[in-house]
Structure formats: structure tokens, C-alpha cells
Symmetry: C2
């Protein structure tokens, strides 16, 4: 079974600390690497943690606060220095392109690849990426500026066909792809063999949801229902709820409540306020509500 | 005697490494902190090394390559988050303002202080800062884009007056400032006491020269003659001279040659190419020409 790997490049928030850098993470699956957010210093972290940038073609920016996108031009610039030739796609709210294009034009003259800005709606949920194996869907969050979550979801996989049954019923090769997709089989004798007798369930499709900066809201629960892994920001301890409300962020308790209500398999919290030296109290608070919680840290990797 | 402190925030070049961040340094003297260059991640380093940002009002950008200025908007943004109210002055070549203003306007809405861009000529030497105790002068370097060096120089200080002589000649208090500035003293009896009998030489004025990205050139030697400390880029080993020439950078040997010809008191090399894991071979190469050489490293401090 193919695993999904989530690597945290920066687990901090607006003000970086000695421990936690600005937000960025990479999701690796099926030989593809996707970047989510790109705070200042991301190119440094990419190098530090050995991210395979040759496989990185798509960057998703959740919202237009500087701590989530100030690393973009530097990353593009350094990819160029390192001899990249394949295009880069930046998925973001529409305004980013007009802000960043002049910098790319000035500082990355003669770029050896194209940078495509692919705008998506900050207010509607939409599928913004789709390939043979997975799709990425956005969903609106609730923050001081428009902010979007991302759902990465593998397509449903083919059913596993039973080799013994193929032999027994003399199933022609041409029929196998149809049966893997759920078709029954009609023998030469005219007998209909139901699919469930020929196949077993497919490898489960993996899903990952990223809930960037957001105040507590249940409005996106349907989008993240049952995901294998949920990243949810937990900027504050619940004792600092007034600060969370004021800045439109969540507490660890709230993140865990969302995870529980959405029946996710596991939760990763992050985006800690610089006021906390240690993420463990945030982790403990979340675990009190939702046991399968872990905490993000720069360089830390999660497999699911 | 008041010391000058130079702290390196990033000793690397265009591509950051695990060891060396993008270029930035701070010069502290007389309770003032000046920043020179502001590569991506500078705000992170500022926090990591405890730079006293409350005393930082002037930022000097040597040239408009991304590795020397991509940290600027992030730094400004974080200064705001931390409650700063005093204005920030960014001294740079003219184009920077039009590139960066839109980002500040978008990402730093409601900034609690003003950011003033103070353009200087990339082709002429000029005094771009002057206060009661020191001045900053630019001088053109030789690089793939216009690049400028900076000379920080304390003004000449007052002579030390001899307290015994003040008593002996009954020198009135009103006369003392004049004598400290070199005046002779006329006694009530009409005798002229020469200044050299009343005073001793002032504390030496300190000077620091920063030679950012540059190919080898002797054209700025007159500007850096005899400085207490010279930072000169040493991107390459001399065995990689073709790479240095191609990218218009210097080798460690060339940096040391400049230091020797300019009779500086000490040399600090930095801005290492990412191809070198270890700066010691660069240091050894420079020391072969100019013994009083040290190497820059992230967080390292030099006092002079």
C-alpha cells in the first residue's frame, strides 16, 4: 500500500520563533510532491530537509497573509539557480499574481521555466487540481482575510481481482480492467458471475485536509469528514480564547473538537503563537478531546 | 572606548545552506543598530540572535538581487506585529520602492509606523546618512547588476582635555568645548597656551566598510583605505576563479588582496557559495595573503 507523507517545513505562525518557522508543508504521494503555503524561509527549509523539488510542480497558498506566502519568490528564484526547467503552478486567491509578478519579472530575469498562477475562489468550494490519481478541493475558512482549506483526496482505486477466479472462469485479458472497475462477468455459457465473487475491495484512497488560519467554525465539516489526516491550526491554548477570537484563530481545544466532529482518523495541530515556547501544553489540551492528535514541528514527518 | 559590534545574521549567498543563511548583518555603535542587507529569513535570525530592533531605524540594501532584500517586507511586517511605532528608513537603489511598496500596502495594512525609502545613486559615491556621531557613504562596486558598498565612519571625536591644566590655567567652563575642538587658550595675562599643551589625542574614530557582491576591482580602494574592519565577499576559492568571473563575484584570495592593498586593520570574509560546506579553506586562502582575516558565520559577532 502506498503511503502519503506529510512533512512540516514550518510549524509556527506570523512571528517565527527559534523553534518554529513560518508556515509551509509538503505532501508527497505517488511520486508527486505538493507544497502547501510558502512562508518566508521555505527555500531554506526545503534544502535543510532535502525536499525533492524536482517532483514539486504545484504550490497551494491558503490565504494572502505574508507569513503564508513571503517565501514564494525566493523559492522560485532558487529553483531557477538550481537549473529547474519544468513549470511551476501556484494556486492561490486571485490577488497574489499581481502582487508577485513584478517581483518575479525583476528579480528572476531569464527564468528557465514558467510560473503559472492559477487563481481560485476564496468564497466557494471548488476542485482546483485533478489528475489520474488525486484531486484537490478548496473550502472556505473563517479568518480576518479570506482563507481557504484544502482537501487532497486520492480517486477511488480499482478493485483487486482474484487471479484464481481469472483462471477458473477463463476471463479474457480485455475484460479485466472493466471487472477491476466493478463490472460483472458473463461466461461463454451465459452465466453471470457477480463482481463481488471475482474481486476484493480496493486499497483505501487516502485523504488529507489542511485547515489553515481559521476561527472556530463548523461550516466546513462536511468537506473533511473522515479524512485520514487533518491538519488544523491551533494558534492558542483555550485559556487564551479572547486572543484567538480577536485574531480569528483557533485554540487547540477547538481544533480537536473539529477533528472529533468530523470523525477524522488523526489530527495534527500547528501554527502556534510565538507566545508559547513549548507545544506540549497545546498537544495535551487537544488530546483531552481527541486522543489521536500529534503536534507539528519543523522537519517532522507524518505517514498515513 | 566605545566599541563597534558587527553581528552576522546570514553568511551565505544566493542559495542558502544548512549552515549559512541569506546575507544580512547588523552594525551596533553608540546605542544605534544599523542593518546591512536583508535577505530572506532575516526576521527569523533577528529573533534568534536577539537583535535589539527597538534601536534599528535604518536598513541599507547594497543591491537589488533577491538574496539581499527578500526579507524586507517580512521584517517590516513582524516589527509591526511586535508593536513598533518609530519609522523605518530603507536606503537602497531607487527601484526597490516601486517593487516593495505594493506588498507593504497589501500585506501590512494599518502599519503603526512609516516606512521611508531613501534612494541613492548606484553609480556615484555619496553620503547617504549623517548624524552627530557618524556618516554612511556609498561607493560603486562591480557586479552583474549595480551594486554598492557602504562605509560607516564615526566623525572625528573631541580631544581629551587635561583636568590638571584646566585648574592650573583657570580655564573658564565656557572655553572647554572650544579647546576640545582644537582651540588654543589665551590666559588673562595674555599668554597663548597652545592646544597640544592642554589636550591629548581624541579616541580614534571607528570605521567599517561593507563590500557586497562584487567582482575583483581596485576602483573603490580609496574609499576603504585603513578602515578598522572590512567585510568583503569571498564567494569562491581561487581555484574556482572562472565561476567567480562568470558570476562577477570575488575569490577569497582577491578579497584578501583588496584588504592588503587598502591597509585595513582586519578583514571578514563571507557570502560563500553553496558549493562549499566548510568556510575554512576560504579562510586559509585569504590568510595566506592577509593574516588578520576572519570568516563570517550566522550569529557570529566581531568587535572592533
Amino acid at each position: 500500500m502506498e503511503n502519503v507523507q506529510l512533512q512540516i517545513l514550518g510549524a509556527g505562525s506570523a512571528v517565527p520563533t527559534k523553534k518554529f518557522s513560518h508556515p509551509s508543508q509538503v505532501l508527497s504521494l505517488r511520486e508527486k510532491v505538493f507544497m502547501i503555503d510558502c512562508g518566508e524561509g521555505t527555500q531554506h527549509r526545503v534544502r535543510q530537509y532535502g525536499v525533492r523539488v524536482s517532483r514539486l510542480n504545484h504550490i497551494f497558498i491558503s490565504h494572502l497573509h505574508g507569513d503564508h506566502c513571503f517565501g514564494l519568490v525566493g523559492l522560485i528564484s532558487t529553483l531557477d539557480t538550481q537549473g529547474r526547467t519544468s513549470d511551476v503552478y501556484v494556486h492561490s486567491h486571485p490577488e497574489l499574481e499581481q502582487l508577485v509578478r513584478p517581483l518575479i519579472a525583476y528579480f528572476c530575469k531569464g527564468l528557465s521555466f514558467n510560473v503559472h498562477f492559477v487563481p481560485f475562489s476564496p468564497t466557494e468550494s471548488e476542485v482546483i487540481y485533478d489528475d489520474k490519481s488525486l484531486s484537490v478541493k478548496t473550502f472556505p475558512l473563517k479568518h480576518s482575510v479570506r482563507s481557504s482549506g484544502f482537501l487532497f483526496k486520492e480517486h477511488e482505486k480499482e478493485r483487486h481481482i482474484d487471479g484464481e477466479m481469472v483462471k477458473y472462469f477463463h476471463i479474457p485479458i480485455a475484460q479485466i480492467p472493466l471487472i477491476k472497475r466493478g463490472a460483472d462477468f458473463l461466461t461463454e455459457e451465459g452465466e453471470l458471475i457477480p463482481n463481488r465473487q471475482l474481486t476484493s475491495d480496493p486499497t483505501p484512497s487516502r485523504s488529507y485536509a489542511y485547515c489553515s488560519d481559521t476561527a472556530y467554525t463548523e461550516k466546513f465539516l462536511s468537506h473533511i469528514e473522515g479524512v485520514d489526516c487533518l491538519f488544523h491550526e491551533a494558534t492558542f491554548l483555550h485559556q487564551d480564547l479572547p486572543a484567538a477570537k480577536k485574531t480569528m484563530h483557533s485554540t487547540a481545544l477547538q481544533a480537536a473538537t473539529i477533528a472529533k466532529m468530523a470523525n477524522v482518523k488523526r489530527l495534527v495541530i500547528g501554527h502556534y503563537s510565538a507566545r508559547y515556547d513549548d507545544p506540549l501544553p497545546l498537544l495535551e489540551e487537544a488530546k483531552g478531546i481527541f486522543e489521536a492528535t500529534d503536534f507539528a514541528a519543523d522537519g517532522k514527518t507524518f505517514i498515513f
